[in-house]
Each structure stands twice: as C-alpha cells, then as structure tokens.
C-alpha cells in the first residue's frame, strides 16, 4: 500500500456552467428548489447517431468521462469504476410509464436496455473500448465514495495504474417533486455528473493533489468518527440547508478539535445522490487554484486562507458517513 493516489484530471456537468470552472468566479444562483443540469455541447464528444439513443445521464457521463480522459492524456484506463444512486432514472420512468399504459407487450427495447444502473459504466467502457475492470456502486448518497474507495484501494495496492472514477445522477421533475413532498425544506435539488482520472505514483510531484485517505463508516460511534478526523484545517461539508441533515454536521464539528474552517458546496451545486462527487471536484479545484471563493465558506475566518488539505465529510441520514482527505503537495 505504498503508492500515492493522484488526481490527474476531473470534469463536471451540473447546474453550474458545464466542463468549466466559471462557478469559481461567477456562480449561477438559483431561487427555485430544483435546477436541472446545464448541458454541454454533446456533439463535441458523441457522434449524433450514437447520441440519439442515449438518455441525458448517459450523455453527461460520456462527456465528463471523455473530457477527464482528454485532460489526462489517457485513452484507455486500467479500470472504470462508477457510482450512481438512481442510475438511468429518466429511462426507468419512461419504461414504467409505458408498462402502465401498454401492458407488458410492445415495450421499447432501448428503454429496457438502458434503465439498469450499470448501463453508465458499461457504456463508457464500450465507447473507449476498455476491457478492464468495470464496476458500478449504487449505495444511495454514498455511491461515489464506494467507487472511490474501490479505486483508491486498487491503486494503493498496485493492482491498477490508472482508473476512471465517476458518479452520475439525474433528477427528473417527477423525482424532484417527490423529494420536495417528502422533505419540504430542501433548498436546492440538482443533477451531477463528475468523472476523474486517478493514477498511482510512487511519489507526488509539486502541486499534485493526492487522495490521502478514504473512509466509509456505517453507524459509527461519535468517538470513532472523531478519531478518524484528526485536527483538520479545512473541512468541506454536505450541508444542504435542511435542519434534519445539517444538525449531524454541527454536532460532529462541535466536538472536533482544532476549530476547522468549514466550507460547503451544495448551496451552489445542489443535492442529489452523487452530490459528494461534486464536493470532491470542488475541493480539488480549490486546492489546485489555492483560493477559496467567499460563497464556499460556511464559517468565514479572518484573513485569507490558502488551503493545502481539505477533508470532505458527508453523511446520509446520519447513518453512513464518508471521510475523504485531499492533500496538495
């Protein structure tokens, strides 16, 4: 386990400008509680004949994956590991609607084929002709972390040298309506597609960002959780404006020593089952640029902060906790 896990490249599609870092200086602010993702120019990445059959989440996943691979100068990674909470939700909805309207005969085969969760990862594999390890994790809001942990362990152990890790979730208007009905105080629900190329290096070069540690804990004792968070200077939290969600972070941070600077990302990027992946993307960009925009602070300290480490902390319903430590060399 001596290799270092280095972030070679990363790309996003969300409710901010796609495949761009414009949000760092000019974030788009939403008054509504649901914001769909802003679509990139798909034709730059996908043949229109091929694209016509793909649902939105599939097109976004291909765009972010191909963009990350291009940035990394890599055609074929050793593995593709994908997280998704809801998979191809739009296709699943259409398929079920047809099932209700037309019965079990005469259903569209494309919707059936492209409504499974692992369609995303397999489509990327087929597109780039990658015959290596290909796996999908669907663990609600911990899907990205599950995929990242698998990638991180394999890179550290030397089982693979490079990996495309991503997490992709779409939110249909119907799903947004259901979420709103169940949790009326949801501030912003949106969509996420993030892909990143990670590579194994024996030692890190200056300015490279390393994934130093990944932990997933299920129903940990508070003391156990705190033991994993050792005096972080900067933490990035999955605060989304819901009291029932945010109180878990407040309780935890109240007990963590060192009075860390608290950042958030969901007010800008919205929440969904892949939201922690966009937190990972945002933290990477903050470390690379060495600047933290004002709107990212949950608690603003006096003076400028130049981050060299960020610990990402997320939880799902207070039960599943994830801790990701990123370090700039």
């Amino acid at each position: 386990m001596s290799n270092k896990c280095i972030i070679k490249s990363i790309a996003q599609v969300s409710c901010q400008q796609p495949l761009s870092d414009e949000w760092l200086t000019s974030p788009i602010l939403y008054d509504e509680s649901y914001a769909a993702a802003i679509e990139p120019n798909f034709k730059e990445f996908i043949n229109p004949i091929e694209a016509r059959r793909l649902g939105r989440v599939l097109k976004r996943a291909l765009c972010t994956s191909l963009s990350a691979l291009r940035q990394a100068g890599l055609n074929n990674p050793d593995a593709i590991i994908t997280g998704t909470g809801m998979g191809c939700l739009e296709n699943s909805e259409k398929f079920l609607l047809q099932l209700a309207q037309l019965g079990e005969s005469c259903l569209k085969p494309t919707l059936f084929m492209q409504s499974t969760h692992n369609t995303i990862s397999s489509l990327i594999g087929i597109n780039i002709k990658c015959h290596g390890y290909n796996n999908t994790y669907s663990q609600k809001a911990c899907s990205f972390e599950s995929a990242l942990l698998d990638a991180w362990l394999q890179l550290k152990a030397g089982a693979i040298k490079s990996v495309l890790v991503g997490s992709h979730d779409e939110v249909t208007p119907l799903f947004a309506k259901i979420l709103k009905r169940n949790s009326p105080d949801f501030k912003l629900v949106s969509e996420t597609s993030v892909a990143s190329v990670l590579v194994a290096e024996e030692s890190a070069q200056p300015n490279q960002i390393e994934v130093e540690n990944v932990n997933i804990l299920y129903r940990p004792l508070r003391e156990e959780l705190i033991r994993h968070i050792t005096e972080p200077a900067v933490v990035m939290l999955g605060l989304n404006g819901n009291e029932s969600n945010d109180r878990h972070y407040c309780e935890l941070l109240g007990k963590v020593s060192g009075n860390p600077i608290m950042l958030h990302y969901k007010p800008i990027f919205g929440d969904n089952f892949s939201a922690s992946a966009i937190g990972f993307y945002a933290a990477t960009r903050l470390l690379q640029t060495g600047k933290i925009p004002e709107f990212m602070y949950h608690s603003k300290p006096a003076g400028n902060v130049i981050p060299s480490e960020i610990t990402l902390i997320n939880h799902y319903e207070g039960n599943t906790w994830s801790l990701i430590k990123l370090k700039k060399h």
Binding site: P48, I49, R52, R53, L102, C106, L107, K108, P109, T110
Partner: protein
C-alpha cells in the same frame, strides 16, 4: 399509400429519436439499414415493436424482416397488405 408513407416516416423519427431529421429528409426508397438512414439491430427491434403496437402485425419469420425493412416504401407496402388495425 402516400399518407401511410408519411405516417411511417413520422413514427420512425419518433421511435428511433432521429431528432435532426424531418420526414422530407427520408427518401422512401432509400435503404433503412447499412447505407441510407444507417440503422442497426437495436433499431430493427424498435421497428418490430412499432409494427406490432401500431398495426397489430407480429413478425414471426425473421427471414421476412430483411425484405420488409428494406425501405420505408417496402414497410408501407407490407403494412397496407397485413395490418390488423
């Protein structure tokens, strides 16, 4: 027959998500597969489902498919002779 060909062109565009095409862009005599529209085997499945759903035609003999799906005109010809609804 002209009306049926127009209807079929619209249905093919809709069911195969050929968003960039208009009915007038499709030559009724041009091949559907390979050249022409360049459709593939998954599209063939979609067309078989379309035939059953819209016209009550069940294609039981796969060998027939090659001739039936040669072009929009050949599909229209087969539908007009075999439709059950």
């Amino acid at each position: 027959m002209e009306t049926l060909i127009e209807t079929l062109k619209n249905q093919i565009i809709d069911v195969l998500n050929l968003e960039d095409l208009k009915p007038e862009d499709i030559d009724a005599e041009a091949p559907l597969f390979g050249e022409g529209l360049g459709l593939d085997s998954i599209d063939a499945l979609e067309l078989i489902v379309l035939m059953e759903r819209e016209y009550g035609i069940k294609l039981s003999n796969p060998a027939e498919g090659k001739e039936i799906f040669k072009s929009v005109a050949s599909v229209a010809d087969y539908v007009s002779k075999n439709r059950k609804k």
